[in-house]
């Protein structure tokens, strides 16, 4: 049983989020997000002033994006245990989840274009900035279904309880919290613009929490699976699996 690899995969989730906070937040200085209502000249000024920091920050963000994949694989492994042979939900989760690195890396490329020659026409810099920022914040369309699928799979698992049931409910909340993201195309200022509380801050919290909680849940599931396997080979089979600890 490759518990070590699973635990490493579980840790990749939180590490990816910390990478995002360092790259996107500390280095690029994009938390809070630059305003979506700034003029082209102001956007150009931002790239001229902080060109290298933004470039390095985006590289860190892109590197961290790839670390999302191992956690998605870890979630997949245990969802497939729930579903068995015909693991439709697990494979849907896998496919949609593996899009996530791309959904962050491509927008970062577009921002790199803006940062590459910030001295060019300000309108062009702003256009590439928009082309990067809108999908980076608003590219949640695959993830929405992904977390719903994870939630449904966990809540349907009444027998094995591989993941705690509340983690299933948590996934459904993440889906609901992400919904206001559809609004960012329509507002340049206010709570539903790309820097607003609903599409940015609430989703940052929900999204980061997803990687920490799912990382914890995969780690826990892998450990329990190994314990069960160890018990299965042990001579006395008197010990029944312990009941689920009750939360709170």
């Amino acid at each position: 049983m490759n518990v070590t690899m699973q635990r490493l995969a579980a840790w990749c989730g939180p590490v990816a989020m910390i990478g995002f906070l360092i790259g996107w937040g500390a280095l690029c200085g994009f938390i809070p997000m630059p305003s979506s209502s700034e003029s082209a000249l102001e956007v150009q000024r931002m790239y001229l002033d902080r060109q290298t920091l933004i470039q390095v920050g985006l590289v860190v963000t892109m590197l961290a994006s790839a670390l999302i994949a191992p956690l998605i694989a870890g979630v997949f492994v245990h969802l497939r245990r729930i579903e068995g042979q015909n693991a439709v939900l697990a494979y849907t989760q896998l496919g949609l989840g593996m899009l996530l690195p791309i959904l962050f890396i491509i927008p970062c490329f577009l921002l790199q274009v803006a940062a590459f020659r910030p001295e060019r026409d300000a309108d062009l810099v702003q256009a590439f900035n928009d082309a990067g920022m809108l999908p980076f914040v608003g590219g949640f369309y695959a993830t929405l279904l992904q977390v719903i699928v994870v939630g449904i799979a966990i809540l349907r698992d009444r027998e094995q309880q591989i993941f705690p049931r509340w983690v299933g409910w948590f996934n459904l909340w993440v889906a609901l919290a992400m919904m206001p993201d559809v609004l960012i195309f329509f507002f340049k200022t206010g709570p539903f613009s790309w820097r607003g509380i609903a599409p940015f801050y609430i989703i940052v919290v929900a999204f980061c929490a997803w990687f920490f909680i799912m990382g914890w849940a995969v780690h826990r599931a892998a450990t329990r699976q190994a314990e069960e396997a160890a018990r299965a080979v042990a001579p006395d089979r008197e010990h029944q699996p312990e009941p689920e600890p009750v939360l709170a």
Binding site: P164, W166, F170, L176, F186, G190, I202, A232
Partner: protein, 204 residues
């Protein structure tokens, strides 16, 4: 892999009343969901009041164009729907499924009435050329009431799910827990509106 699943089928269904004195309505997970969702709305409410403080006159002038009557009417409709859902849950628990069904149909009627009022309210605003992009107040107004309406539509699906349980011949403990879970979600939809109403319509 564990092969003990079949040996303990009874343990998998959550017991209806694990303890005579305390009982988690539904299951603990739905409360994780509810408290997280309430925290999300709380953040939006605080942001609204914060931004309102930054542009008090514009917000007051915009708010003056709202109809308090629509807001109050929808509050009363949702309070009544919650009462009917309470009756529905108690009916299902008591095995009086016909009465429970009537109560839940009443709750569905309330939910639809809420939507009708909302259509008139929003329609009136659009007719006056007021849209979500008009200014900050209207962005919050349509955003908050829109997100709430989205919850209410999910709630309509939940009520339908509960109604299907009233047609089941034999209800298990898990069924009853699921009904309680659905009811808790519905009450949350009511609860959120109880804050939205004074915040958007009444706060001067």
């Amino acid at each position: 892999m564990s092969t003990t699943i079949d040996e303990r089928p009874a343990a998998t269904a959550p017991p209806v009343v694990p303890d005579a004195r305390t009982h988690v309505p539904g299951e603990i997970g739905i409360w994780v969901f509810i408290l997280l969702d309430l925290a999300t709305f709380a953040a939006l409410f605080a942001a609204f009041l914060h931004d309102r403080g930054g542009d008090a006159e514009l917000y007051a002038a915009s708010q003056a164009k709202l109809s308090q009557d629509f807001g109050a009417l929808n509050t009363l409709i949702l309070l009544t729907s919650s009462l009917l859902v309470v009756a529905g849950v108690r009916g299902i628990r008591a095995g009086r499924l016909r009465e429970a069904r009537l109560a839940l149909y009443g709750a569905v009627a309330c939910a639809l009435a809420f939507c009708v009022v909302k259509v008139f309210e929003w329609g009136g605003k659009f007719a006056d050329d007021i849209t979500p992009t008009t200014n900050g107040f209207w962005e919050y107004y349509f955003g908050l009431t829109g997100i709430h309406l989205f919850h209410l539509l999910i709630g309509l699906g939940v009520l339908t799910f509960m109604l299907r349980r009233t047609r089941k011949a034999q209800l298990t403990g898990a069924d009853v827990a699921n009904v309680e879970t659905g009811a808790s979600f519905w009450h949350m939809v009511d609860l959120i509106w109880i804050v939205i109403f004074p915040l958007l319509y009444l706060a001067h």
